[in-house]
């Protein structure tokens, strides 16, 4: 889940990291008031969840509160990359001596948060890392132990920062690392972290992204501290009709789980697949052997006949689908016979002959003998565990390509 800049600013502020006084405003009058309160020149920034604000005219400088209000009026109407702003942030135009970068990201390889610091702030950290690798300090923190200041200090010192700058920046990076871990973030970034002309360090801009799965346990932060509504997921993905229908079938019945995706798939082989990583393996196996999947799906958790039938029907009805392949790795919870009933029922209800429409059925495991009896009755090609996922996928590709 992504956060708007004004929310990210609140998060760092609540973690005890100094920020300049700012105002989040949704009307020009509020912007005028915020600018008057700040006093002096301000900067008015569009609050959108997309980049390129400056280039699009979403960031403007103002010398007076009236000018701030006029800019706010324009920016609030300005669409940037298809996004309308949630509001504007009114910030003081800070007197900056030097800009730094402080960030924490999730290192998937080490499976630990990674602190990053650079004395070259205000620009992309990727660019700094590529062009000036000696200006980027790095250090992992534990997933469990407290974050110690000395760990942050080592990371900052690696960039050559010393003296009072080192001492002032250290607690900021340490607190950022703590908020990253305690807030289940994927990214927590202050860029720029500014050293003002009076020597203070303040966060001028912040970016935060939270792990989607953690939004339940971070309810206090999201709802009470930030006032984000439960249905405000910030998800910009627009599901297809197929995906929406599969989701509705899944939601209508608590038994088992089905998922379907079809973005970037337009093949002729429909996939009803799943079980313990089986979906990814099988999709790859189909593609590697020259097959063209019409979709991606996941089925498991012992779905009802109706649910298996619903998914199979949706896949069978997709444009261009000639046959479906029903394949899983070995199942222990999901019942083979129930899935068999579901997919056969889907064929029959659509007026299709199961022995023609189902290229292969390869699900070994719980109730497989019963499943085999059903499939045998309808003449569907059935494979047990003696046939690998790879071979079953290859057979499905052969059949849909008319090789047999």
């Amino acid at each position: 889940m992504r956060f708007f800049e004004f929310e990210a600013r609140r998060i760092v502020e609540q973690a005890g990291i100094p920020v300049t006084s700012y105002g989040f405003c949704t009307t020009p009058d509020e912007a005028r008031e915020a600018a008057a309160e700040i006093g002096g020149p301000t900067v008015v920034k569009s609050q959108v969840l997309t980049g390129g604000r400056m280039k699009a005219g979403g960031v403007k400088f103002a010398d007076t509160p009236d000018e701030a209000a006029a800019h706010a009026e324009e920016i609030l109407k300005l669409e940037i990359n298809g996004h309308m702003p949630r509001g504007v942030l009114v910030d003081p135009k800070a007197e900056v001596k030097q800009e730094y970068y402080a960030g924490v990201v999730w290192d998937g390889t080490a499976k630990k948060p990674l602190m990053l610091f650079s004395d070259m702030g205000g620009i992309d950290i990727e660019q700094v890392a590529e062009e000036h690798p000696d200006h980027v300090g790095r250090g992992h923190i534990s997933n469990l132990d407290p974050v110690f200041d000395f760990q942050a200090k080592e990371v900052i010192a690696a960039t050559g920062v010393t003296g009072s700058q080192l001492n002032r920046a250290t607690p900021i990076l340490a607190r950022l690392a703590e908020l990253f871990r305690d807030g289940d973030m994927l990214l927590a970034e202050i860029n720029p972290l500014a050293e003002l002309t009076d020597g203070r360090f303040v966060a001028l801009d912040a970016h935060m992204e939270m792990e989607d799965e953690a939004t339940g346990r971070q309810a206090e932060l999201l709802r009470e501290k930030l006032g984000i509504a439960e249905d405000d997921t910030r998800d910009t993905y627009v599901p297809s009709e197929f995906e929406r229908r599969v989701k509705a079938i899944d939601a209508a019945d608590h038994r088992g789980v089905i998922q379907g995706k079809d973005h970037n798939f337009d093949g002729n082989l429909g996939l009803v697949i799943g079980a313990g990583g089986g979906s990814l393996t099988l999709t790859d196996a189909v593609r590697s052997q020259g097959g063209k999947p019409a979709n991606y799906s996941e089925i498991g958790g012992n779905p009802s006949v109706a649910k298996a039938c619903g998914l199979a029907k949706e896949v069978l009805q997709k444009d261009g689908v000639e046959k479906i392949a029903v394949m899983m790795s070995i199942v222990s919870n999901t019942r083979v016979d129930i899935v068999a009933r579901g997919v056969i029922k889907a064929c029959l209800e659509l007026g299709r002959d199961p022995s023609e429409a189902i290229a292969v059925f390869r699900i070994p495991g719980a109730w497989e003998d019963e499943g085999a009896r059903i499939l045998d009755h309808y003449g569907v090609e059935y494979y047990d565990r003696s046939v690998s996922l790879w071979d079953a996928a290859g057979r499905a590709v052969e059949k849909v390509q008319g090789a047999s």
């Binding site: 009802s304 006949v305 109706a306 019942r335 009933r341 056969i344 029959l348 009896r373 059903i374 309808y378």
Partner: protein, 79 residues
Amino acid sequence: MSDAASAGDSIFIEIEMSDAVASDPELATKLQEVCPVSIFKATDSGPEIVVSQLDECVLCELCVEAAPQGGIEIIKKYG
């Protein structure tokens, strides 16, 4: 036996109940309780088969055990 489900449109499963079972309201409540996929509906005159649910039968035989011996038979249409 009264073939309560034979007129339905199930594909895989059919259930036959004896006349005694089909007219027992007390047993009907029990069957409604034990079936995990809601195939039995209790009425004042006895159990009714919910035909639209028949294909969901998980073959647990809880209904067979709840009824007097031979009172309920689960028939697999696929042989």
